[in-house]
Structures are given as structure tokens and as C-alpha cells.
Symmetry: C2
Subunit: 147 residues, 2 copies
DNA sequence: ATTGACCTGTGTGTTGCACATAGGTTTATT
DNA sequence: AATAAACCTATGTGCAACACACAGGTCAAT
């Protein structure tokens, strides 16, 4: 089975399969005849595992470590638990940051709705330069208490 | 003013200032004496603009375009409005994806709380391989209607 | 034999910096 | 003045997870 076929079968791109191969997560056999990578059922199962792991937020390096543990005969589950805890913290942080960014962007669009282009004196773009974040604005600091 | 001083003054790292310089967003003058980059008040204002723009979700390339418009004598505000609309869509998408990922991770931790390590037959990690996403599980599809 | 469609591996680009390195400058000390 | 320590600089490279461009190989139909 060549790269494209495996990719299609598993619902990813051929480039993704090649990438996993390059970093050593998949180990196809190089055909002596045409130099193509031949993927086996094992690779297919492995790819399935990678996709599942990615969906749970593990990095490719995480997956390498987990597979490494397993291949050394150790139970990888403790490592898996430890890693997902760390990734969850990161995801939580990203979530909060993205939420705040989204709110800032909404606030900007609202402010810009009622302000004409180039109304203010500015050097580059009056919209951006005159935007004031309603959350971090010092006039609103009475609402918060974390400084 | 050298790179470190400007960076400290504006609350970013020297590497960040160097990066902005490398991509052409800042235009310091190279001292003929020691080869160092000399930043002026103009660069300082420009950096302030960049930081504000980044906080609103603009990419460095967006900022380049906005500045380019401004330097060509055009009002960059229409472009700014257009760009932030696109970025907001992306941020919204990222937000939703991050939210779903977070939920999946929480669900996994819950499932794994009550399942012992290596309890299932598996090839790499029983936890990951036996995890079933409660949202995308076919048994729960009656709750959704988007397929 | 030849055309065209499709496939392959390899190399490079993407984003926004952080880090490593080698060397220059400044300050303090002897 | 010489020297050492502390600090600074520019430049090159690394990171994550692929996507894309490129040159060429393969296969079926003509």
C-alpha cells in the first residue's frame, strides 16, 4: 500500500502520512523496485493510534514517547495520564487566551462601528491606535481585583 | 537607542524587536561605528503600533499591509476593518476547536479515572485506544442534527 | 511510441518568535 | 595600562505540524 492509498483510507492527507514517516512514527518498507514507501497493516493501525492521540491533544513528540514506552515493554498508561494532564493545562490556557482575544476583537469592532475612518490624529491607523480595551482599561479596574 | 533598551522600554524581548526588524516592520539605522542597530523615536512609535495590532489579533503580515497602505498615502482603515473581520472568523473557529478539544480531554480524564491501566487489549496504549468521544460517538447522535 | 493523468520522494515555506553562538563593548579591578 | 567580568550585539538556527512546489517516475489509453 502506497502513501496516498493509506492516507485516503484513514482520512488524512498524503503529506501528513509522509510527515509521520519522516519523524519516525510510521515505518514503511522502501520498495527496492521503485523506491516507493510500502505501508503495511501495522502502519495502518499505528496511524489510527496517532490520529486518536492527536484528537486528544497529544503532540507528535508525546506520541513518540508513549510508543517508545510501549515498545520497551512498559505500560505507557501512567505516562499517558501524566502527559494529558500537562496538555490539558496548556489547552485551558489557550482557551482562556483565545476567549480574551475574541472579546477584544468584538469590542474593537463595536468601537469601530461608531468611529469614522481616520477621525483621530494618528500615525498609521487611527482605528487601531485609538482602540481602548474595555477590560484592561484603567477606568474599569474597579471591577477586577487581581493586581 | 539600541535594541535591548527599546525592548525593555516597550515591554517586549530584544529578540522580538530584532524579529520585527528582520521582517522590515522596524527600520533602525545601522551605526557605522560598531554595526549596531540604532532605533529612533519613530521606531518606538511604530513598535507601539505593532504591539497594539498584535493584541487585536493581526498577523505581522497584516500589519505590514496596513502600514504599507498608510505609507502609500491611503487611509488604511478600510483594510483594517476587512482584515479584522477575517481574523475574527479564524479566532472564532480556533475558539470553538479549542473548546471541543478541552471537552474531549476532560471526558478522557473522566473515563480514565475509572479504567485501570492496560485493562483492555491494545497495541500501544489501552487508554487512548479505548477512549470514545461522547460527543462524536454514534450512540449519541440523536442529540445532533448536522449530518 | 506517445500522450496524459496520476503518483512519488525530497526540499522548502509557513508563523512568531526563542535560543545558541561567537564576538564586541563597557565597567571594575589590579 | 592591562585584564577580567559582566553585559551587550548580530547572525544563524530551531521549533510544530504539516502544506506546497518541484522534478521525475508509473500506468493506462491511444
Amino acid at each position: 500500500m502506497y502513501v496516498k492509498q493509506l492516507a485516503k483510507l484513514m482520512g488524512v492527507t498524503a503529506d501528513t502520512v509522509r510527515h509521520y514517516t519522516r519523524v519516525g512514527l510510521l515505518n514503511p518498507i522502501r520498495s527496492a523496485e521503485n523506491g516507493y514507501q510500502e505501508y503495511t497493516k501495522q502502519d495502518q493501525q499505528r496511524l489510527k493510534f496517532i490520529i486518536s492521540s492527536r484528537q486528544l491533544g497529544f503532540s507528535l513528540k508525546d506520541i513518540q514517547h508513549i510508543i517508545g514506552e510501549s515498545e520497551q515493554g512498559n505500560c505507557p498508561c501512567p505516562l499517558t495520564r501524566k502527559l494529558i494532564t500537562k496538555r490539558l493545562e496548556e489547552t485551558e490556557a489557550l482557551f482562556q487566551e483565545t476567549l480574551k482575544l475574541r472579546n477584544r476583537m468584538h469590542a474593537a469592532l463595536e468601537q469601530w462601528d461608531t468611529s469614522a475612518d481616520g477621525a483621530n490624529a494618528s500615525d498609521v491607523c487611527s482605528l487601531i491606535e485609538s482602540f481602548v480595551d474595555p477590560i484592561n482599561d484603567s477606568a474599569n479596574k474597579e471591577q477586577r481585583n487581581d493586581d
